[in-house]
C-alpha cells in the first residue's frame, strides 16, 4: 500500500509567523500531535509538535539532566508559556522535516515512525508541498482490515 492510499488529506498547517498560542489552540482543536509549518509558497519548512513546545518551556537543565524531577512546579512552565505565547513558531519548530512521498510504501512509513518515534508523518509532493498526513493509527487501522 502506498502513502497516498492511507494518508488523511487534511492540510491543516501553520505559517512561520503563527504564534505559539495559536499553535497550541490549533493542536488542541484538531486533535493532531504535530503540525507542518509552511512558507509563503506552501512548502513545508518545519514541523512543530507538542514535544517541541514542551521542550521550549522547560529550563535547559531538564534536558541536560534528562529528568524533570527537579522541576519546582508547573507554575514556572505556565509563566514561561505566557512569555513565549506571542512569539512566532519559527523560533521553536524543528527544521529537519522527516516526510514521506505519495508513492512511498506502508513499510517505509512504518519504519520511519518506529525508528524516529513519530506519531505522524507529513506527505509531500515533488515541490515539498503538503498533500496529506499519515498517522500511526491510520497504518494500524489499515493493517487490521
Amino acid at each position: 500500500m502506498k502513502a497516498h492510499e492511507v494518508m488523511r488529506r487534511d492540510l491543516t498547517s501553520v505559517e512561520l509567523d503563527t504564534t505559539v498560542d495559536h499553535v497550541i489552540y490549533l493542536l488542541h482543536q484538531s486533535g493532531l500531535a504535530s503540525l507542518p509549518v509552511v512558507d509563503e509558497d506552501g512548502r513545508v519548512v518545519g514541523i512543530i509538535s507538542e514535544r517541541d513546545l514542551i521542550r521550549a518551556l522547560l529550563p535547559g537543565y531538564v534536558d541536560m539532566l534528562e529528568s524533570s524531577a527537579f522541576l519546582p512546579s508547573l507554575d514556572q512552565l505556565g509563566r514561561k508559556l505566557h512569555e513565549i505565547g506571542r512569539k512566532p513558531i519559527a523560533e521553536f519548530m524543528v527544521r529537519e522535516v522527516i516526510a514521506a512521498r505519495p508513492d512511498d510504501s506502508d513499510l517505509h512509513l512504518a519504519d520511519l515512525m518506529i525508528r524516529k518515534g513519530l506519531k505522524q508523518i507529513p506527505v509531500l509532493d515533488d515541490e515539498n508541498r503538503l498533500v496529506g498526513v499519515v498517522r500511526r493509527i491510520d497504518l494500524l487501522h489499515r493493517l487490521r482490515r
Binding site: 488523511r8 487534511d10 492540510l11 491543516t12 505559517e15 495559536h22 482543536q29 509552511v38 509558497d41 496529506g132
Partner: protein
C-alpha cells in the same frame, strides 16, 4: 484542481418522519415526533460541491472555517469522501442544520438552520493567506453559501478578485449582498441562491422573463454566465451568446430530498466542464445531477450511472424572452 470555499459550513442532519403536526402553534403539550430514519453529513454549498466532485474523481480542496466537535465531524466526513481539507479552526461550534422530511411531503420539508459561529478577525487573515496560496493551483474556484458574521459583506468580491488575478475561473454559488458585490468583479459563472427571496440584487426573479432580464443585466456587468432556478425542475442559463431554458421532465412525486440538489447541479456542471464539454451541455449534465440527487434520500447522488439515466429527461431549449 477545484478549490471550494465554505465560510459557514454545517453539519446537515436529516430526519424522516411519518407525519408532521399540521400546526406547531399553541400546542397543549410537548410535541414528540419520532423519526424512523436519520442521516447526517458534512454540508454547506462549497463542501457539498467538493463532496460531489471528489466522488466523481475530480481533485478538489475544501477551504473555510470549522469549529468545535461539530467541526470535527464535518472534517471526518469530508476526508472519508476523499476531499482534501484545509480549514481554519475558530472558537465556538460549527452550526447544525436540521431537515425534517415527512412522508408524502418531501417537497416541503421543515428546516431549522443555525447561524454559525462568528469569524474572528485573526482567523479571517489566516484564511485569506491560505486562500491566496491555494488559489494559485486552482483551475476553478467555487465560493458557496452564506457569509458568517465577522466576514465583511464584500468578502466574496475580494475572493473573486484574488482568484481571477491568479488565473482561476470563479463560480459564485450564493445569494444576497455578497453575491451582488461579487458580480462587480466579473466571475465566470453565478448561480444565485434565491431560496430565501426571489430576488437578484434589486431585480425580481419570479418569472422566466424576470430571470432572463436579471441574467442579461448580470452578464452585461461582466459575468460570464448566469444560471438561475426557475421552478423546481427548470433552470435558465444566460450567457453573452444567448439564453437557454433547461427543463427536467420528471414528476415531483419522485423527489425524496431536495437539500443539496443545487450543489449537485454546480458539481455536475464542473465535472462536465473538466471533461471538456461546452457550457450549455455542462449545465444540462449539472441539472441531471441535481435531479438524480433529489431522487435519493442521501443529500447527493454520487452514482454516475444514475445521473446518465437522468440526462435523458433533461431538455434544453434556446430561449430569449425578456
Amino acid at each position: 484542481m477545484i478549490l471550494t470555499v465554505t465560510l459557514n459550513p454545517t453539519l446537515d442532519k436529516f430526519y424522516w418522519v411519518d407525519e408532521l403536526p399540521l400546526c406547531l402553534d399553541q400546542p397543549e403539550e410537548a410535541i414528540l415526533i419520532r423519526s424512523e430514519r436519520s442521516l447526517m453529513s458534512a454540508g454547506g454549498k462549497g463542501i457539498n460541491v467538493s463532496t460531489f466532485l471528489a466522488c466523481h474523481g475530480a481533485e478538489t480542496i475544501a477551504l473555510g472555517f470549522l469549529a468545535g466537535h461539530t467541526g470535527q465531524i464535518v472534517l471526518q466526513d469530508l476526508l472519508a469522501h476523499g476531499v482534501t481539507a484545509n480549514f481554519v479552526w475558530i472558537p465556538g461550534e460549527t452550526r447544525t442544520n436540521v431537515t425534517v422530511i415527512a412522508r408524502g411531503r418531501e417537497y416541503h420539508p421543515l428546516l431549522i438552520h443555525e447561524e454559525g459561529p462568528p469569524v474572528p478577525e485573526e482567523a479571517l487573515r489566516i484564511f485569506l493567506r491560505k486562500y491566496e496560496r491555494m488559489v494559485r493551483c486552482a483551475e476553478y474556484v467555487v465560493l458557496g453559501g452564506a457569509v458568517p458574521s465577522g466576514c465583511p459583506p464584500d468578502c466574496y468580491r475580494t475572493l473573486v478578485r484574488i482568484a481571477r488575478t491568479a488565473g482561476a475561473r470563479v463560480v459564485v454559488h450564493a445569494g444576497g449582498e455578497p453575491l451582488v458585490r461579487a458580480i462587480e468583479e466579473g466571475p465566470f459563472l453565478v448561480k444565485p441562491d434565491v431560496r430565501a427571496e426571489l430576488q437578484l440584487g434589486d431585480m425580481p426573479v419570479s418569472t422566466a422573463q424576470q430571470i432572463v432580464r436579471a441574467g442579461k443585466k448580470v452578464v452585461g456587468q461582466g459575468v460570464g454566465a448566469c444560471l438561475i432556478s426557475h421552478h423546481v425542475t427548470g433552470d435558465i442559463l444566460v450567457t453573452g451568446d444567448g439564453v437557454w431554458e433547461l427543463e427536467a421532465r420528471v414528476p415531483l412525486s419522485t423527489f425524496k430530498n431536495l437539500v443539496g440538489a443545487d450543489d449537485a447541479l454546480v458539481g455536475g456542471l464542473l465535472v462536465a466542464l473538466l471533461r471538456g464539454e461546452e457550457l450549455v451541455e455542462a449545465a444540462r449534465y449539472g441539472m441531471a445531477a441535481a435531479m438524480a440527487s433529489a431522487e435519493v434520500e442521501e443529500k447527493l447522488c454520487l452514482d454516475e450511472s444514475a445521473i446518465r439515466r437522468e440526462l435523458a429527461h433533461v431538455v434544453v431549449r434556446r430561449g430569449g424572452a425578456g
